[in-house]
């Protein structure tokens, strides 16, 4: 399967009764990349992931993961053999010990990596004979991560993988993620930690109230996105509809604040023609995120 896109979705939509959890989601994830998926709780991150993995069926739209149709149960089943998933809820079978869980999970994955299993048992200091109900929350997360990284999977889907972990272990997990991607795996992880996404992700996707509001490379956000502030006597006169690259416009008194994705020179020229004084500032991913979500335009 030399398909360059490991995940692709077309118009993915999911309704729960009256509530639209996910609306018209279309995006792609390239092989070997690390993509960070940001969004508030309840924005639709976990729903999207569950639909991708065949645990839920979309109301409309579809997609492919590792070349397999996500809506077809048989195809989805075959796909899951090559996917490692860490759920938002890190609970595991409480009647099994860590060792039993490993033996159980191993049985389903012919690509299982015993070397990684041993390495992580050691690094995470997991007690093999302890039943998971007696593990702390952090150790449970670490167990879930071991079960994922040792699968030898082509695609790692991690829902908040560092939640509840101390900084030392968090660092180990990020290293493992980078290493896995370096070995050819594709990583799709959701997180509340913007810094983590900035640190290891190639691309960032932001979802807000079920809709994709940002799909860009992390470097582009730092290198090309800019905040342009213009002071204008009559800001309502400033018309930017025809200008390329304008992502968001906020007006506060006489200050027009624009987040631009590209064409910064063009925007500046346009504003100067309209008689504004202009300054250009960098904009962080955090700012782009906060301005993308929570508020209606």
């Amino acid at each position: 399967m030399t398909d360059p896109r490991v995940i692709e979705t077309y118009g993915l939509t999911k309704w729960y009764g009256e509530l639209e959890a996910v609306h018209d989601l279309s995006f792609g994830v390239e092989r070997g990349s690390i993509s960070g998926f940001l969004g508030q709780n309840g924005a639709g991150k976990s729903t999207t992931i569950k639909i991708l993995l065949g645990m839920m069926r979309p109301t409309k739209g579809g997609g492919r993961v590792l070349g397999r149709d996500i809506v077809d149960p048989a195809a989805s089943l075959a796909m899951r053999q090559r996917v490692a998933y860490v759920a938002e809820d890190k609970r595991l079978y409480d009647y099994m010990t860590v060792g039993q869980l490993i033996a159980f999970t191993k049985a389903f994955y012919p690509t299982w990596r015993s070397d990684i299993e041993k390495e992580l048992l050691d690094e995470f200091r997991l007690p093999v004979d302890r039943p998971t109900k007696k593990l702390s929350k952090g150790m449970r997360t670490q167990t879930a991560l071991l079960l994922a990284f040792a699968r030898g999977a082509e695609l790692l889907v991690l829902d908040e993988p560092t939640e509840g972990l101390d900084p030392v272990v968090t660092d180990k997990v990020l290293k493992l993620t980078v290493r896995a991607a370096g070995d050819g795996a594709t990583v799709f992880f959701s997180s509340h930690q913007i810094a983590e996404v900035e640190q290891i992700a190639d691309r960032v996707l932001v979802i807000d109230r079920g809709q994709l509001v940002l799909d860009a490379s992390v470097d582009a956000v730092k290198e090309e996105f800019r905040r342009i502030r213009a002071v204008h006597e009559r800001p309502e006169r400033v018309d930017l509809t025809a200008v390329q690259g304008v992502r968001r416009v906020n007006v506060d008194g006489r200050v027009v604040s624009i987040v631009a994705t590209h064409n910064v020179e063009g925007i500046i020229r346009h504003l100067r023609n309209q008689g504004s004084s202009v300054e250009v500032l960098p904009v962080t991913l955090r700012e782009v995120l906060l301005e993308s979500i929570g508020t209606k335009t």
């Binding site: 645990m55 996917v83 998933y85 609970r91 595991l92 079978y93 009647y95 099994m96 049985a107």
Partner: protein, 283 residues
């Protein structure tokens, strides 16, 4: 049994490559989940069978004393037969009554579980992300529970024969085997109902309560009606409790055969519906 599904439906049990190791893992998981219930049931069954076989002599002796000392007591018909007919004694107390109820209760308990329960425990996401079809989840659970029910039956037979031997009572093995087989067969129908209840009722404890209430309803509300003289003949066929008890004599199981078949067909239908629901559902 379960009809062949059309192309694309969730029929593929497991990708062929991992087949055997995966089945072992699934059955091991189902075993771990039901282990405690099974052992409890085993103790209950063995204890019950041992108790009645070993207590038989003393009970009979007491009854005979009662006959002499209290001639005014009104004794039911079965009493006199039980005094002298040992297999009938076993039939009356165990196959018709206590052993039957114990088997049914444990068949229901062993069938409780499944994806809804995992949802209540927060493990359903992990479970469903594994490359295992929903049919495989249901089938592995059902098969393990069915085997456990059979083992309970085997334990009953062995205990009855061994303890009868200890008590020096002659007990034809065929009597035990046939009647326990009827109990096991009927229990399968209850197991199927339990699998179905697990697919319908959400939560951690609710399915157990519903299951046990259903048993209670069956034995304490429905049964007295079907046993009464006013009940039409067809009811006797589907009265699974009567079917499971069978006739007190060895080898006469004509009614039982048909009733058991009906019970198993209904059970099969319930399991199929449980599977259908599980495939349609979002977790």
């Amino acid at each position: 049994m379960i009809p062949m599904a059309k192309a694309g439906a969730d029929v593929t049990i497991l990708p062929a490559q991992v087949g055997r190791a995966a089945w072992r893992a699934l059955t091991f998981k189902a075993w771990l989940e039901t282990r405690t219930r099974f052992v409890t049931g085993l103790i209950a069954v063995i204890g019950l069978c041992a108790f009645f076989t070993l207590i038989h002599d003393r009970m009979i002796a007491q009854w005979q004393r009662d006959l002499v000392e209290h001639p005014e007591w009104n004794n039911p018909r079965w009493f006199f037969r039980a005094l002298t007919d040992y297999p009938f004694f076993i039939w009356h107390f165990l196959y018709q009554d206590m052993l039957q109820k114990v088997c049914v209760v444990f068949a229901v308990l062993l069938g409780i579980g499944g994806l809804s329960r995992e949802a209540a425990h927060g493990t359903v996401d992990f479970t469903l992300s594994l490359p295992v079809g929903r049919l495989a989840w249901l089938a592995s659970r059902g098969l393990v529970a069915a085997v456990e029910v059979v083992v309970l039956g085997v334990a009953a037979v062995i205990t009855l024969l061994v303890c009868s031997g200890i008590a020096n009572a002659a007990y034809p093995p065929l009597h035990a085997i046939l009647h326990v087989a009827l109990l096991v067969g009927g229990s399968f129908a209850f197991l199927a109902a339990s699998l179905w209840i697990s697919a319908i009722v959400e939560g951690e404890h609710a399915p157990v309560l519903v299951g046990l209430s259903a048993i209670g309803l069956f034995y304490f509300v429905l049964q007295p009606y079907t046993n009464g003289a006013s009940a039409p003949a067809v009811v006797r066929v589907i009265d699974i409790a009567r079917v499971m008890a069978g006739r007190p004599d060895v080898g006469r199981a004509d009614e039982a055969g048909l009733g058991l078949l009906v019970g198993l067909l209904v059970g099969g239908g319930l399991v199929a519906d449980a599977f259908r629901r599980s495939v349609r559902r979002d977790y």
